[in-house]
Each structure stands twice: as C-alpha cells, then as structure tokens.
C-alpha cells in the first residue's frame, strides 16, 4: 500500500506491505541506511528516529503508522558542510567507536536536548540508558551530550526572544 510522510524536510511517497516496519521502510524502501537495526525488539535503540518531535524506535513502529508524520533521521541532522554541535561533541569526546549505535544515540540525545536543553548528567544517563552501546562504555557519550547542551540552550534562548 502507498504511504506518504515527510522525512528530513522532504515529502516522500513509498509503497510498503502492511507488516513493514518503519525501520525497514526507511532503510530499504527509501535507502536511508543511517538508521540501524540492532535487535528488532525495541531494546537496543539503534533504530531510533524522531517522529513528530518524539524519539521513536522505528523497529517497533509500522511504516503505515507514519502516514502524514514528520520524520527526522540521522541523515537530516547536519548538512555536507559541518557537523551539528551534537555530532561535533561526539567526535571530540570519542563517543563512538564502531558507529553502529551512534545514529540512535544522536537522535535520542537530539530529541532530549531539544525538549530539555538543561538536562543534567543524571537525566542524560537515564534517557540514554534506553540505547545500548557495546564499544564506548557510555562515559564519553554522556560527556559529549553534556557538552552539546550549550548549543541547544543558545537555540532555546533564541527561540524565546
């Protein structure tokens, strides 16, 4: 069946089976392979994308449920020229090794800091504890997210003006 939604600011129409997950639709239907699938049962968080502003496990959501939604994937968080503040902080703090969990970490952290730019370390750890990473031991990821807060705080102030 055909479905339509917006992904990274672009309206797309794609043909899916009713049973197709949003993750598979993004990866194989739309070739947005930055979103990764690590467990297919909603535990690892590698497939996290942002649907209408909320961090969602795209392996647990059917593609048809995304009809009419606005979706952001890791590919939509920066352009060719520069890394986003969150991505740059990940690089600076060596918050990624194999890179497989990274898109889910980035989208999760982006959704968190967009809502809560002042999140403290405990809150960051708590939210990220829904995403598994097997390489880094998480400490540098938390350091990176805490550093990136400044950019979101500045954005937040700008929005309120």
């Amino acid at each position: 069946m055909p479905i339509r939604f917006e992904v990274n600011g672009k309206l797309v129409e794609v043909e899916v089976e009713p049973r197709t997950s949003l993750a598979d639709c993004l990866r194989h239907g739309l070739r947005l392979t930055g979103t990764h699938v690590g467990c297919e049962h909603g535990v690892c968080g590698a497939c996290t994308v942002i649907v209408d502003g909320v961090a969602v496990r795209s392996c647990l959501m059917l593609a048809v449920q995304a009809e009419g939604s606005q979706i952001r994937t890791v590919e939509g968080l920066s352009d060719d020229h520069a890394l986003s503040p969150l991505q740059a902080a990940f690089r600076k703090h060596h918050a990624l090794q194999c890179g497989f969990c990274t898109p889910g970490m980035i989208t999760t952290a982006h959704a968190l800091l967009s809502e809560e730019p002042d999140a403290d370390a405990a809150r960051v750890r708590d939210v990220l504890s829904g995403n598994l990473c097997r390489c880094t031991g998480y400490i540098p990821i938390v350091e990176a997210v805490l550093e990136a807060r400044a950019a979101y705080q500045a954005q937040d102030k700008g929005d309120r003006k």
Binding site: V43, L83, Q97, L128, L132, C133, Y138
Partner: protein, 763 residues
C-alpha cells in the same frame, strides 16, 4: 621518524567519525544489488537429535521463493569448518559441518536455507518447512558430558575433546615443600560479545568470470578465503572477500561460520546475489559463545607470602563443535593463570568438554578474564589466611623489571612457549594505588555506611597482543601526490583508519591530509594478510606501515634522482615535492604518474604484553544484593601510545563490557539445552546509567622491544582484571559476614543469596 611530525601520541579526532556521525557508514546490510535475493536459515530447535525428514515442498512452492537448500543439495558430505588457531588432527572429528545432514547437536544449528525475494518472504517460507527430528538425550552441561553416557560423537567414544597442560618447574615438589597451601573452586558463566551490529554476508557470483565476491568480511578475511576456496572448489584468487564498515567484533565476528559458506553457495546455486543478515535471536544461538569455565586450583606459598606454585584443574564447556578459535580461551586459562606474577612452579590441566550448546570461540580477553578472576580471588584468600596485606602480597610476587623477559608456562600438546616482554609492573601498581587514593579509601573497607557495606580491592594483570606470523602493508603514491595505505589488518570499529593514518603520516613525514585513505580488511588490497585478533593490528599492521613508508621514501628519492639527474641521497621530500640539493624539484604528483607503490611485510613471532593494575570501590546493599560501583581506576602501560583518546576509549569500553560479564550477562541454558536468555530483554548488558564512575590512566613508558613502533596490543586489557577486582571488593565489603564470592555473575539475587546463606551459617 622526525620529531617535528608527531601525530603518533596525539589525541587526533577520528577520520571514521565523519561518515558514522552523519549516518553514512556502509555496513553490510546497507549494501544492495540489482536482483538481490535474501536468505533466511532454518535452525534446529532441538538440542540433540537425529533428523528423520525434511519436507521443503511447500516452502519451494511459495511464490517469491527461489531456492530451499538442505544438506541434500550440498552433495554426499557437506564441508566442515576447520580450526584456525591451534589446530590438531585429534580435533578434526569435532569440526562443524556447514549444515546439519542427519544429526543436530545444538539449538541454532543450521538445517536448511531459504532464498527469496525479500527477507520477510524467506522467513515465511521457513515456517512451511516440515522438519522432523527424533530427539536424543541432551548433554546439557560438563558434568553430564563427563559421564559419557550420551555421546555427541559416537566414533570418538568420549565427550572429552582434548586436554591441555600448562607446565613450568615442578609444581608437585613445590607444593610438597610449601609452608602454606590454599585450595578453592571458582566458576565463570557462559556469556559473549553481543556486538551491536549482527553478522551479515552478501555474496555475488559471476559465472562468466568464474568469480565470487563476498561482502561482510572482517577479522581474518585471508584465512576465511582459504577455507571458502577449498569448500567451493575455487581458486583463492577467484574469490574476493570485502570488508565493509563493521559494527563491533570483539573476537566473535569475522571467524568462519556456517553462513560464510551457505550464502556464497546460495548465490552460486541461484545465480543471483544473495544477502543474509542475522537477527538478534539468531545471533544469541548462532554466533560464538564464550567464557564458561570452572576450576579447582591451589596456591603454595612461603610464610612470607612468596608464591612457590600454582596447581589445578580447569573445565571448559566448549559446546557442540570445535569452532575456528574455540580452543583459545581454554589454553589461555591454563597459560595465563600466573598473570604478571613470579610463579616458578605451575601445573594446570584444562579439560575441554563437548555439550549440546552453541559452540564457543574467542571473546575479548579470551580465557584471560576467567583466569584472572580465579587467580586474583585465590590471592586475596591466601593473603588473608597468611595475615599479609593484599597489596603487599601482590607487590612481593610481581615479576620485576630486571627479570624480563620472563618465561610463562609451556602449553602441551602444542609445546607453546611464551614470555613476558618488558615493563615495570610495580610502577603500574603504585600509580593505581595513588590515583585510587588507596591508603585513605582502604579505611572504609567492610564498613556499613547508610545501609551499604563498602569494600575495596586491587588486582594486577597482563594483556597479550601481536600474534604473528606477519602483516602486509602496501603504500601507493597517488597522482595527486597523496598516499594510499593498504593493509592486511582489519577494522572492527576500533578506529584503525585513524591510528594507521597517524602512523603512516609520521613515518612518511607528511601531514595527515596527505594520507588519502587507509584501506583494510579486503583480500584485494595486499598479497596476504592476517587480520585483527589477539590485539595485533597496531603492532603488526602498524609496523608493516613503518617498513613500507621507509621503502616508499626510498623509491621516491630514487625516482626523483632519475628525474632530476642527481644522487638519491641528495633528495629531500618536503611539502609534496622531492627536491635536490641544487634546488631543482619535482612534484610527488608527477612522480606518481609513472606508478610508485611498495609493499612490505613485518614478521614477528613474539608477543607483546601490556600490563597494569585496577582498583575498585563498591558498596553492597545487603537488602537487595545490589552492588554499586562507587569508583574504579584502571591503569595500563601499552608500550607506546598511538592515540591517547582512542586508547582511553578502548580501556573504558572494554572495562564496561567486562563489568557486564561480572554483574549482568549470562547465557542461561535449561536441562534440555534450550537457551533461556535469548533476547536482549533477557540477556542484560550494561547501560549508560550502570557504571558512570570509571577513571582510566594510560601510558607508554616502556616501549616493547620487539617491534619498530614499540607498541603493544591494547584493546582487551580493560576487562581482563574486572572479575577478580570486583569480586574481591565485594568480599572485602562483606568480610564481617564471611561472604566469599567464588562464582560469577554477581547479580543482585546471587549476592543476596550469598549474604543470606552466610547469615544463616553464623550462630
């Protein structure tokens, strides 16, 4: 190397990150091809049985299914997978066939493979296969295995695959003469790497060229190509193994598994490209398990704590077959029981038992995690009995700088000798005590504060690396004046491209931007390669790059001398040009036009030993059994630091993985050989909130004497001492109750049970 170019030793941000952070990595499941088909694998749901019948007619009839392959399609005898590390003829009866023909020996063993238009269709077709298996009694653990009432391989007559012995000096004589002997039993639970990206294979067969391309390779592609060529009846150079981005290896990914034959076979069989991506449930029953080990060991000492000997028997449950590297953990348990300590007399026997469980392989720090847990626990028990301070006990027995190189126990039947290369073990211990603030913190030992018992512990370790025999590097000067680096090493997510760029840039005396790229892990790049395992990449691949850089500079000088009509020794290479003493110069880009490339091989048969000390502060809640990690200090000297940032990442990442093994991770089987922890909701791994208090201190104060970089393998050390240190800290915390943890994991229910048992045992 010129001092002005010092990328080596600097915390350079990784070159890989730019693609990973933007979602532009290319992992094997990100690949697609015109006409791509998808495979799914039917696996035995029975741990032990005889296949009575397989009816694939309904599956074959399903629209969109292109093939259903069983053992029948593979000829009279399906190929088997050989042992890669430490092979012996006596292990051959236990090699795993790529598909089960008439017998299944573990839950997860491949029985049939479906190739269809989509992964979902392939899975639909699996449900239509009628598989009937007559169950046999299950050998569920090593105790049942040892009875030999039910045999996995009747022709062999026993479930004991092999026994190893580690030997040095005369242990029996040492124990006979000792003032003090202490014996204890220990156990480590079955767990494994569980990297975030499941395994995957994509194969393309070109009938016109007679060529096979297999993507998804990793770790040891050249070795795997040799196996596959033999199995497929193809010449090695008719096969290309391609390494893509890899979502974690940790020893488990990249060994030769049944799917590494089945998917290429399916591609040739169907004449279409075929891809298979392991799902997580599959991963937990199909990929190598590790770590399941028990032992009874004893220590002999003088009254003053001087160790005279270690002696004992260990038992390893290796599962249903001997996989490519399934022997390594067992032999390491035996050989590295002595760790960084001076133990003149050793006799450790290890028995490898076959059971109806998923076969084992190596997982980061194979055997070392287990044996360090055994040793460090035994040391604390012995020190307490002798009334000697734990730190002092270790200090007295660490191998001294002046004793290097120091011989380890020899392993029979391989007659494998090894020695510790160099280092100042005492200095690492002292640094750890300082950073941890041991003297002050030790006063909290055993104290009950706000309802929790606090405890400290400390342990020392070694980490082996640099497995031989050699590694290749090819450097090519490109027509834009940059240099491409091709290596036989493999990238499994550890940041190889960055550290090799640093090494190459320094050795070539060029800026990092002049290194066009590091190309690794595929069989097309160099003549032969040995890959990435045993923490060997930096030492072996890095040293090969250093040799090749020297050759390339020489070749550039010679080419420039010809072009500029001067002597090669008068040529200086600077800023993308080769200049003569007389002032004439030629651009490297122009020299490249004629084709300038060199390939060098670095050979080495010795091992490096990084070393260090860890200390932990825990708080145990006696009401719940929960152990909180209050502070953890990891100190390691790795000979030479290439990139302190990525090295710290390796230490902390490895340690947290190890803490998973200490507290959480457990592949639990029932008596029918069924895996009970078969999802990530059941197999618990550390999360961001579990272990936030870790401090790592890495240094390169004592370069290894056995390679031009002075580097040592450094990817595994973080987890090696974790079990012993944490268990000793828990014992110290609960000393007033007399709790002595001797088995992992230290999950809350198990710690709580130990506390309750200890309380009941006391009057």
């Amino acid at each position: 190397m010129r001092a002005t170019n010092s990328f080596v030793g600097s915390p350079i941000e990784r070159v890989e990150d730019l693609r990973f952070l933007r979602g532009r990595g290319q992992y094997v499941d990100d690949l697609t091809r015109e006409g791509l088909l998808h495979a799914a694998i039917l696996r035995s749901a029975v741990a032990h049985g005889r296949i009575r019948s397989i009816d694939v007619s309904a599956a074959r009839a399903l629209r969109g299914v292109h093939a259903v392959i069983t053992a029948a399609e593979l000829g009279p005898k399906p190929p088997v997978i050989p042992v890669r590390l430490q092979p012996l003829p006596i292990l051959e009866p236990f090699h795993q066939p790529v598909i089960a023909a008439d017998r299944v020996r573990y839950v997860g063993e491949p029985v049939a493979i479906v190739v269809a238009e989509s992964p979902a269709l392939a899975e639909d077709a699996l449900d239509l296969i009628g598989l009937e298996i007559d169950p046999l009694p299950v050998v569920a653990d090593r105790h049942v295995s040892a009875k030999n009432e039910v045999l996995l391989f009747e022709d062999h007559g026993s479930n004991l695959a092999i026994e190893y012995r580690a030997e040095r000096g005369n242990a029996d004589a040492a124990f006979h003469a000792a003032d003090f002997v202490r014996r204890e039993s220990f156990g480590v639970q079955r767990h494994t790497a569980v990297m975030m990206e499941p395994r995957g294979v994509m194969a393309e067969w070109d009938p016109a060229q007679g060529k096979l391309i297999v993507s998804g390779a990793s770790k040891v592609p050249f070795f795997n190509r040799r196996i596959l060529a033999k199995q497929m009846g193809l010449a090695e150079d008719a096969i290309e193994l391609v390494e893509n981005d890899v979502g974690g290896g940790f020893g488990v990914r990249g060994e030769f598994y049944p799917e590494d034959f089945l998917i290429p076979f399916a591609a040739k069989f169907t004449g279409r490209p075929v891809k298979w991506i392991e799902d997580r449930r599959e991963h937990l029953i199909a990929s190598n398990h590790a770590r399941e080990a028990e032992c009874e060991i004893e220590i002999a000492c003088r009254k003053d704590g001087t160790i005279l000997g270690l002696r004992g028997q260990a038992h390893i449950d290796i599962g249903a077959y001997t996989r490519t590297n399934g022997m390594v953990g067992a032999r390491n348990v035996a050989q590295f029981l002595s760790g960084p300590y001076r133990v003149p007399n050793i006799q450790v026997d290890v028995a490898l038992h076959l059971t109806n469980k998923t076969p084992v392989g190596t997982y980061r720090g194979p055997g070392r995690f287990e044996t360090d847990f055994f040793r460090e626990r035994l040391f604390d028990l012995a020190a307490a009995d002798l009334g000697i301070d734990r730190v002092e006990f270790r200090r007295r027995n660490l191998v001294a700088k002046t004793e290097m190189p120091y011989a380890l126990a020899t392993i029979t039947p391989y007659e494998a000798k090894d020695e510790l290369d160099n280092g100042d073990y005492q200095a690492a211990l002292d640094q750890c005590l300082r950073e941890f603030n041991w003297v002050e913190k030790a006063t909290l030992d055993g104290k009950l504060i706000d309802g929790r018992y606090h405890g400290m512990a400390l342990g020392c370790f070694i980490e082996g690396g640099a497995a031989g025999p050699s590694e290749s590097a090819r450097l090519a000067l490109e027509t834009d004046g940059t240099v491409s680096v091709f290596v036989g090493s493999s990238a499994v997510g550890q940041g190889l491209e960055t550290v090799f760029t640093q090494i190459a840039a320094d050795a070539l005396e060029m800026p990092m931007e002049s290194i066009r790229g590091v190309y690794h892990g595929s069989t097309g790049y160099v003549r032969d390669g040995f890959g990435s395992y045993h923490s060997r990449s930096v030492v072996m691949g890095g040293s090969a790059i250093v040799l090749a850089a020297e050759s390339l500079r020489k070749a550039i000088r010679e080419a420039a001398a010809t072009a500029l009509d001067c002597a090669a020794r008068d040529i200086e290479i600077l800023d993308g040009r080769a200049a003569s003493a007389g002032g004439a110069s030629i651009a490297l880009a122009d020299l490249a036009a004629k084709g300038l490339a060199v390939e060098e091989v670095f050979s080495n048969h010795k091992h490096t030993y990084a070393y260090g000390a860890h200390a932990a502060h825990v708080a145990v809640d006696p009401k719940t059994g929960h152990v909180a990690l209050i502070d953890y200090v990891a100190v390691e000297d790795v000979g030479r630091v290439i990139n302190p940032m990525t090295l710290r990442g390796q230490v902390i990442g490895s340690l947290v993985q190890g803490l998973g093994g200490v507290f959480l991770e457990h592949l639990v089987y029932d008596e029918n050989g069924q895996l009970l922890s078969g999802s990530l909701a059941d197999y618990l791994m550390p999360t961001a909130s579990d272990f936030p208090n870790i401090r790592a201190f890495v240094s390169g104060l004592h370069p290894s004497p056995i390679n031009p970089l002075g580097a040592k393998g450094a990817g595994e050390g973080g987890l090696i001492p974790a079990g012993g240190v944490i268990a000793n800290a828990v014992a110290a915390a609960l000393a007033s109750l007399g709790v002595q943890p001797c088995r992992l994991p230290l999950s809350p229910p198990r710690v709580w049970e130990m506390i309750e048992a200890a309380r009941k045992a006391r009057p």
